[in-house]
């Protein structure tokens, strides 16, 4: 069970370590990881994911949101974490906080505990 849910689709095994660190199903779980990440963490994620992004997105383009197997779901969760973390490297100088911002911890996402692949976000 554990090993099955930790698996990535074929051809993406190189991202396994990143997935263990970053891949989480919900915005709240990913935010908790992001808030404690360092500039080095963001840089490492970006360096590893950016060159693989085309392949990752091409793979996920073939996946309906409500029909992913566990490996595809894990790849999705990693891509989601990258999607949300990339600005911290690209725009915020590696800071876990958005510079000069309100506390992100005070923002309540209505969908925060809903798996991000849900088709019922409304």
């Amino acid at each position: 069970m554990m090993s099955a849910t930790m698996t990535l689709p074929e051809g993406f095994a190189d991202l396994a370590e990143l997935a263990a660190r970053w891949a989480r199903p919900t915005e709240n779980a990913r935010s908790a990881i992001r808030w404690t990440a360092s500039a080095e963490d963001f840089a490492a994620l970006h360096a590893a994911m950016m060159p693989r992004l085309d392949a990752v997105l091409a793979r996920l383009e073939g996946c309906p949101l409500d029909g992913m197997d566990s490996a595809e779901t894990r790849l999705f969760c990693l891509a989601a974490a990258f999607a949300e973390a990339a600005p911290h490297h690209e725009l915020y100088g590696g800071s876990a906080e958005v510079p000069h911002s309100f506390s992100a911890r005070r923002f309540v996402p209505g969908h925060g505990d809903t798996p991000s692949w849900s088709t019922a976000l409304r």
Binding site: E27, H46, M50, L53, D54, L57, A58, R59, L60, E61, G62, C63, P64, L65, M68, E72, F76, A79, A80, F82, A83, E84, A86, P87, E90, L91, Y92, V98, P99, H100, S101, F102, A104, R106, F107, V108, P109, G110, H111, S116, W117, T119, L121, R122
Partner: protein
């Protein structure tokens, strides 16, 4: 720019040309004097606002797609009106609003866990947990345990207390006045035409955020009502928006609107890739053709989004994929909890992702915009503290802050009525 009467207009745009105002016309109509901060500072004015605005104006409380199936309901807590409101889709598919108050002794019929609570009524009834009174989702009292023990009970008069509820383009509004002075359509007036016809109901994927701000509700509303702050406050998350143009000013009775043009974001590497995913197709790509004709009437290619102010507390920023990649529109609401406390709600709306990659791209754009909102909200509590200190008695407002000037005037006229 504001000369909507010129040639080269999109078909249908002339019909709304009377809303357009040049900067000179705005100055002439609304003045250029500083505006008093007393309405923000004075708790006595807040007490008046509760009576004269929030119990009188139409208030958006839901969307039709939040409660898509028969029996679906939403409960909205509105401390500004001391009310808990049940918005529910009846067996006849009609959306109605009721006080979420049991007519037996006043308990909440639907228990709530937060400012908003969603659920589905089984068998088209809701049951008060206190003593088990059962109400139809269309209002009537259906059954009462041990009814005979009441002696006499006129069940026909003991249905849920209904609140006026009307919809425009799938946005559900209520009005606490009984009866309201105007229909919703009359209240929205030309705004309903200006913003009408866009397929809002097709962009049903919503990412919603809320927070409680320690500030007066108008501080939060005003901070989101101008484009003047974009190059400074958003230098971090929107580096490409430096060259924005805030134009096409429109006055629409108690409402107003304007347009943000510009070259969009200087996209970061990842953003460019995610945006490419959207721009590949017509589903999520820029769709300026879907904008109602009074918005971007000359069809400028650098249209970003329309920035209105719908009195008293609603903003619908209509982008049609032209601003933030893939985003159809986003809304803000500002609900007073008290004179100095505000519930802010921001919602990003996208068309449904057709696959997992599109959803990832939506998560990216959503995060960028959420982060911009974190920049916006950073100013609000400090602004309120500053105003309360008494150090300033007025706000200095420039042309691009006309929505604030207009909203403050509308507020005054409601309070004077």
């Amino acid at each position: 720019m504001n000369d909507l009467g010129s040639t080269g207009l999109r078909p249908g745009a002339e019909a709304l040309s009377h809303l357009g105002r040049s900067v000179e016309a705005i100055r002439a109509e609304l003045g250029i004097d500083p505006v008093s901060v007393e309405a923000i500072r004075d708790p006595a004015i807040y007490a008046l606002e509760r009576e004269k605005i929030f119990r009188r104006a139409w208030l958006k409380v839901a969307t039709a797609w939040e409660i898509p199936a028969i029996g679906d309901y939403k409960v909205k807590e509105l401390p500004v009106a001391d009310a808990s409101v049940l918005i529910v889709r009846g067996k006849d598919d009609r959306i109605r609003a009721f006080h979420n108050v049991c007519t037996h002794r006043g308990n909440k019929v639907v228990p709530t866990s937060d400012f908003e609570t969603f659920g589905r009524a089984r068998a088209n009834v809701v049951t008060c947990r206190f003593h088990g009174w059962v109400f139809g989702t269309d209002g009537p009292l259906r059954s009462v345990p041990l009814e005979g023990s009441f002696g006499t009970l006129d069940k026909a008069c003991l249905g849920l207390r209904e609140i006026a509820c009307e919809s425009w383009e799938g946005f559900v509004f209520i009005n606490f006045a009984d009866p309201p002075e105007q229909s919703l359509r009359e209240y929205l007036g030309d705004f309903a035409t200006l913003f009408g016809g866009y397929p809002y109901a097709e962009a049903t994927t919503a990412f919603r955020y809320s927070t409680v701000l320690e500030c007066n509700w108008k501080v939060a509303l005003y901070a989101f009502s101008e484009g003047y702050h974009v190059p400074t406050i958003h230098a971090g998350s929107l580096p490409g928006f430096r060259g924005i143009e805030h134009a096409d000013f429109k006055l629409i009775g108690p409402h107003a609107s304007s347009t943000i043009y510009g070259l969009g974001m200087e996209a970061a590497e990842s953003t460019a890739r995610f945006a490419g995913l959207f721009h590949a197709g017509t589903d999520h790509g820029p769709r300026p053709d879907l904008l109602p004709p009074g918005i971007n009437p000359t069809g400028r290619s650098d249209f970003q989004f329309e920035l209105p102010n719908i009195f008293p507390n609603l903003l619908i920023h209509l982008a049609s994929g032209c601003g933030y990649p893939g985003m159809a529109y986003f809304t803000h609401q500002f609900w007073p909890l008290d004179h100095g406390r505000t519930l802010w709600e921001g919602i990003n709306y996208f068309r449904p992702a057709r696959n997992a990659a599109e959803r990832v791209a939506q998560l990216h754009v959503n995060a960028l915009h959420r982060n911009a909102w974190l920049e916006d909200t950073a100013t609000m509590e400090d602004t309120f503290t500053g105003i309360r200190s008494g150090a300033i008695d007025e706000m200095q407002l420039m042309d691009q802050e006309f929505l604030i000037r207009h909203a403050a005037r509308t507020l005054d006229s409601y309070l004077a009525a």
